[in-house]
């Protein structure tokens, strides 16, 4: 499964334990510049984003609202249900040994 862009690790992935103070300041400065550039881009956008075209009928909207409401009730029931602190779930986690050890 391809990862979404949001989940990609930043290119500067911090392998910088031994980065010099000067290099650190340079990176930090670059980041600040980049951020301010981004901010400028946002503030100078000429027109507000167009609203997404409505793709759902009233019936579908109603059905979605019903399902959301049903879920909310289910979640409320689960959240209110008292259990002893630290009670076990149904599943049991098991580490898997490497094949060479079997």
């Amino acid at each position: 499964m391809p990862r979404s862009a949001k989940n990609k690790r930043p290119p500067s992935a911090v392998s910088s334990a031994r980065v010099s103070r000067r290099r650190f300041m340079a990176l930090l400065g670059g980041g600040v510049l980049a951020l301010s550039g981004q901010a400028r881009a946002i503030t100078t956008r000429s027109a507000p984003p167009k609203p997404k075209p409505k793709t759902r009928s009233a019936a579908i909207e109603k059905g979605i609202a019903e399902q959301k409401s049903g879920l909310a009730k289910q979640l409320q029931t689960l959240r209110k249900f008292p259990l002893p602190t630290g009670s076990d779930p149904s599943f049991l986690f098991r580490p898997i040994s490497p094949r060479r050890m079997r």
Partner: protein, 470 residues
């Protein structure tokens, strides 16, 4: 040799000895079923794909073996169907879903392989609700094959999600069929089509080569003409499988043990048909009659309640969470939009309020429920309960309106992975089939088959068959 229609409604337990004695030829039997499928399936939408050539070849091979004295067992030469979420090498396996209409696998599911080893003859893949309904569905036509049409009234639904499996057994298009259940998908079509269905204990049957709708709820089991046939089929497909880590090492002990229910304690979990929206009094009356029959046969029934835990909420939240993960690729690449159910594509949005903590809470309540049910089954051998509270609804109706009632027994059964047998018990409104269920402790399928057989020796509801209009 031309076989009469009656032969097509015989059980595997009846056909097997006749095939063994060479009174009935597997080739002639297969041909007769293929003719019936060609004639009647267009009225039912029961088959997703008919494997005529493969079935004929398998029938010839079976006949050759049997004639040579190499009889494999009670399913040798018996024609059957398999829900279209089980992989079959080289033929389409659509999972009932348009975006997967061209999907093929290069291997057989373990269940298909085991039935092949038993000598059973696969006639084809049975139609089903898209993705076995794991993303929810509201309309009967939520399937690549269109709505499953009930042989008792083709304007009514078969039930789902093993729609074609139920219809084909009821209509005499196969001797038995393989279905699956996440929550209700074997029991519902069994009730609506008037056939006997067995949901095995979670882990009893390998799911290798089957669609994953959910990892911790899916079970594979038979829909057939009798409890005896369910036992024969389950015996052939049960057992541990290295290709499915969730399959159990628990010994498979399915041989008949009891010819009487005397000495057994059953919990009677009734429902108030008069006060439950959508419940039909006629189905309630049939259930009462079934209970009276079981009592007359010597079963001790004690009315009681199930443990008061939110089983429906647990099952619903966990099934949703697992299914959203199982089908994430359909959401990512947009193919979910090709599904028939208009709400499928919106499920991530609908369920956005569900948190990781909610899912873990459901898992913990599930464990508490398992503990309480283990205690429950130390006091009772089985639970006797209604199956669906109404007969099959009209095919064009909103299922949220026609089936508005809760399913507390099904919720507990599926959340705890418990086996249940669905048994026909007569007819409700408009002469449509009604059914009930007997639910057991884990690994007690043998006992459920025993009780089903005792009940079916005393009644003839499972022998009724529909008259399909020309």
């Amino acid at each position: 040799m031309s076989l009469g229609e009656d032969v097509l409604f015989q059980t595997a337990a009846e056909l097997g000895p006749r095939i063994r004695k060479r009174e009935i030829s597997p080739v002639a039997l297969t041909e007769a079923f293929l003719e019936r499928i060609a004639r009647d399936d267009r009225k039912l939408n029961a088959f997703a794909y008919v494997m005529a050539d493969e079935a004929r070849a398998a029938a010839r091979a079976a006949e050759k073996e049997i004639n040579a004295g190499r009889y494999r067992g009670p399913l040798h030469g018996i024609p059957y169907g398999a829900k279209d979420l089980l992989a079959t090498q080289g033929t389409p396996t659509t999972w009932g879903a348009k975006p997967l209409k061209d999907q093929r696998f290069d291997h057989d599911a373990t269940v298909i392989r085991k039935l092949k080893q038993a000598g059973a003859i696969l006639l084809g893949k049975m139609a089903m609700v898209e993705l076995a309904g794991c993303l929810g569905y509201r309309w009967c036509d939520s399937s690549l094959q269109g709505p499953g049409r009930n042989p008792w009234d083709t304007d009514r639904w078969t039930g789902g999600s093993s729609s074609g499996s139920g219809a084909a057994v009821a209509a005499g298009l196969v001797v038995f069929a393989i279905g699956t259940e996440t929550w209700g998908s074997i029991l519902c079509p069994s009730a609506f089509c008037g056939v006997t269905g067995l949901r095995p204990t979670y882990g009893r049957v390998s799911r290798a080569g089957g669609m994953v709708g959910t990892w911790t709820f899916d079970k594979i089991g038979p829909l057939a003409r009798s409890a005896a046939d369910c036992r024969l089929v389950l015996t052939a497909i049960a057992g541990a499988d290295p290709d499915d880590p969730s399959s159990s090492q628990e010994p498979v002990a399915l041989n008949p043990r009891r010819r009487s229910p005397r000495g057994l304690r059953a919990a009677l979990v009734a429902q108030d048909f008069a006060k439950t929206a959508g419940a039909e009094p006629e189905v309630g009356a049939r259930f009462s009659e079934a209970v009276a029959t079981l009592r007359s046969l010597g079963l001790t029934l004690e009315e009681t309640q199930l443990p008061d835990l939110p089983a429906s909420e647990v099952a619903s939240v966990l099934i949703t969470a697992e299914a959203l993960s199982a089908f994430e690729r359909l959401f990512e690449d947009g193919r979910v939009k090709q599904l028939r159910d208009p709400y499928a594509r919106w499920q991530p949005e609908i369920n956005r309020a569900m948190t990781g903590a909610d899912v873990m809470k459901a898992w913990r309540i599930r464990r508490a429920l398992q503990d309480q049910m283990a205690d429950f089954y130390s006091r009772f051998d089985v639970i006797v309960a209604p199956n669906f509270l109404s007969v099959a609804p009209a095919i064009d109706r909103d299922l949220y309106e026609t089936l508005p009632y809760a399913d507390p027994v099904g919720a507990v059964g599926n959340a705890c992975g418990l086996p249940s047998i669905a048994l026909p018990c007569g007819f409700g409104r408009d002469h449509m089939p009604a059914g009930y269920q007997i639910m057991g402790a884990p690994w007690d399928e043998g006992l459920l088959c025993d009780l089903g057989e005792v009940y079916q020796r005393a009644t003839a509801h499972h022998q009724q068959r529909p008259m399909l209009e020309a």
